[in-house]
């Protein structure tokens, strides 16, 4: 343990002064420190943790390497500087967690709740997008679990901490990950953490964020004694999705798993489908068949586009942009216009957006850029759709006349107008 006032040197010779203890985990402690006149966080390893690592020197070198390469995206609370070795251990500096962010565990325990499903989807989108970027840099994270993600319950903003195991894909850092979040092939001792095992752990977290249940912990998990052998079966040799459509033997218990029962029946089919795929026998056994980050982005952005607010406050999932009934107050919700994309339509209501990844394949860093957004005309409730890209759109107006839509320009919502972005033609349709 370090004490207030203790001084530590970074590898480049800068001074760190301990200000206060923040928290303790299995691997080490986190302190608030002064680093070059700024408040930062210091993660300081427990000696016993480093001692149990097969190659502490390589572990140190990997973090140093990450410091030098810089953060892949703003979601990562990335190591900014590493300390010297001191008394058989060391630490690294990162930004402090800002207030208003809570780890996934706190959501699981309902100490904190998301404000809306849109916030949940936004959090999922940011997690998936961050991992797409991380993986596109050739890194794997290797230890995804409920304690490593901090989320804002209102905006769905995400910060990812504990980036000390991030390493070039298939390079071992000595970590296997946290029980309950491991891919089956790790549980069975066949592989070490890699991009495809990251993908599996990520799917577990996404299911938890929506349903507040663990996707592999159905009835079988409720056995009286969780022996090592049972753990190996549940998470390794015989995993079975709680919502498996064919095999109900690990299905939800009507009392313990109420959350899954309630949420699952309301999820759109394409969300059910991707979870079923992510936790299918095929995906357990063939890591290459797991849904990719882009697969997740496509369904999550669609899901986000399809949610609208009822006047009663309920969030309603619409289908194909059609008028629908609120499942809470029972009133009909009229959706005047919808936007028809290639394979589905979304409601065109205030704040609806179309993301880059909804148009097709795209670079990891661009996936969540909105390319179009529904806005209202100043001081009125007349809606239009704004070009949020930096390029001109080719459009055809309702009379069949071709037009150009400049970046930032807004076109009215009128039946029959089409506009083309990145080879996809989007059509505005009035709901009759």
């Amino acid at each position: 343990m370090l004490a207030t006032g203790d001084k530590i040197k970074t590898s480049s010779g800068d001074k760190i002064t301990i200000k206060e203890f923040i928290a303790e985990g299995g691997q080490g402690e986190v302190y608030k420190v002064d680093y070059n006149g700024r408040e930062k966080a210091l993660k300081w390893y427990k000696k016993s943790f480093l001692n149990n690592n097969s190659d502490p020197k390589a572990f140190y070198a990997n973090i140093k390497h990450n410091v030098e390469n810089g953060q892949p995206s703003k979601e990562f609370l990335w190591p900014l500087e590493i300390t010297e070795w001191q008394d058989d251990t060391f630490g690294y500096i990162m930004d402090l967690r800002p207030s208003g962010y809570y780890d996934i565990t706190e959501y699981m325990l309902c100490h904190i709740r998301f404000k809306s499903y849109r916030a949940i989807i936004d959090a999922c989108l940011k997690i998936v997008s961050a991992f797409r970027i991380l993986h596109s840099h050739g890194y794997s994270y290797q230890d995804l679990n409920d304690g490593n993600f901090f989320i804002d319950p209102i905006k769905g903003d995400v910060l990812i901490c504990d980036n000390d195991n991030v390493a070039p894909d298939k390079v071992e850092t000595g970590i296997l990950g946290k029980p309950r979040y491991l891919a089956p092939e790790i549980v069975l001792g066949k592989v070490k953490p890699n991009m495809l095992t990251d993908r599996f752990s990520m799917a577990i977290l996404l299911y938890i964020l929506f349903c507040l249940n663990h996707p592999l912990e159905g009835k079988k998990y409720l056995a009286d004694a969780l022996t090592p052998a049972l753990q190996e079966k549940l998470y390794g040799s015989e995993p079975l999705f709680i919502m498996d459509p064919n095999d109900k033997s690990n299905g939800p218990d009507s009392v313990a798993h109420k959350n899954s029962i309630m949420v699952w029946k309301c999820l759109p089919d394409y969300m059910k489908e991707i979870f079923i795929n992510a936790f299918s026998q095929n995906s357990f056994k063939n890591p290459h068949n797991r849904p990719t980050e882009l697969d997740w982005l496509k369904v999550l952005t669609r899901f986000r586009s399809e949610i609208i607010d009822c006047l009663c406050g309920n969030e309603v999932f619409t289908q194909n942009g059609n008028n629908c009934k609120c499942d809470c107050c029972g009133k009909m919700i009229k959706i005047p216009f919808k936007l028809e994309l290639k394979s589905y339509a979304i409601p065109a209501v205030q704040n609806s957006r179309i993301y880059k990844c909804q148009l097709g394949t795209c670079d990891a860093k661009d996936a969540l850029n909105p390319i179009a957004g529904v806005v209202s005309k100043k001081d009125s409730n007349i809606l239009g759709i704004r070009n949020k890209t930096d390029r001109k759109w080719n459009a055809i107006n309702s009379k069949g006349v071709p037009k150009k839509v400049d970046a930032g320009e807004t076109i009215p919502l009128k039946d029959g107008i089409t506009f083309t972005v990145d080879d996809m033609t989007i059509k505005i349709i009035e709901n009759k």
Binding site: G26, S48, Y221, A223, P228
Partner: protein, 258 residues
Amino acid sequence: MPTLDKLEETPRKELHVFYILDTSGSMIGTPIAELNHAMEECTEALKEVAKNNGDAKLKIAVMEFNSNCKWVTDHGPEPVEDFEWEYLEAGGLTSMGAALTELDSQLSRNKFLSSMTGAFMPVLIFMTDGIATDDYDRPLTEIRKNKWFKHGTKIGFAISDEADEKMIASVVGNSEAVIKTNNLALFKKLIRFVSVRASMLASSSRTTDKAADGGGIVSDAKKELDLPDDVTSSLPDSAYNKEPEATSKDDDWNDDEW
């Protein structure tokens, strides 16, 4: 959509931390005072572990043994967050055998370990400062058949020079999981360390295929707290009566014996 406030906390398995503590006459005076203080701090530390734990719901059960044995948590294991340490008093003999028999009877899914979500393998921490005054061989043979006991994470403390190291090593089944010290300040630090570490096993990222056992935790404690090697017992395997290896049959969770 179901409104978000209808969702309830994610089900978690229970993790029971058992303390089996010697409060015999030789503990009178400073030792019992130190024990009470140590357990007070331990309880506080466990509350921290319990507070934000998505993997396990921590419960605590405490038994004291002297001329008899008695559960301090007499209504069964209590959620750590509600538990407050009650000061124990010392006096009487060291009925280790009776303590093991009573523990055996409660380590069952129909007794202390009953719960809707089921339980992790328990953590069992034993402490003595003396020599058993009753027959503990037969109770030990019996409790070793108990699967919760067999699979539990067991750690022992021998906290005086008179403490029967062999006995405590036999009880925890591994001399490397026994800490011997007559330094009560050190005992206080150590019991806190091993309690926290053992109760975090289920919720920590791993570096190896298997979770640490009692011996591994004690060895971590030695490294972490810079302790001399002789703080653990150096008994050869033959000196104490060792627990039989677990068999694959032990892992059948449908077995009524649980």
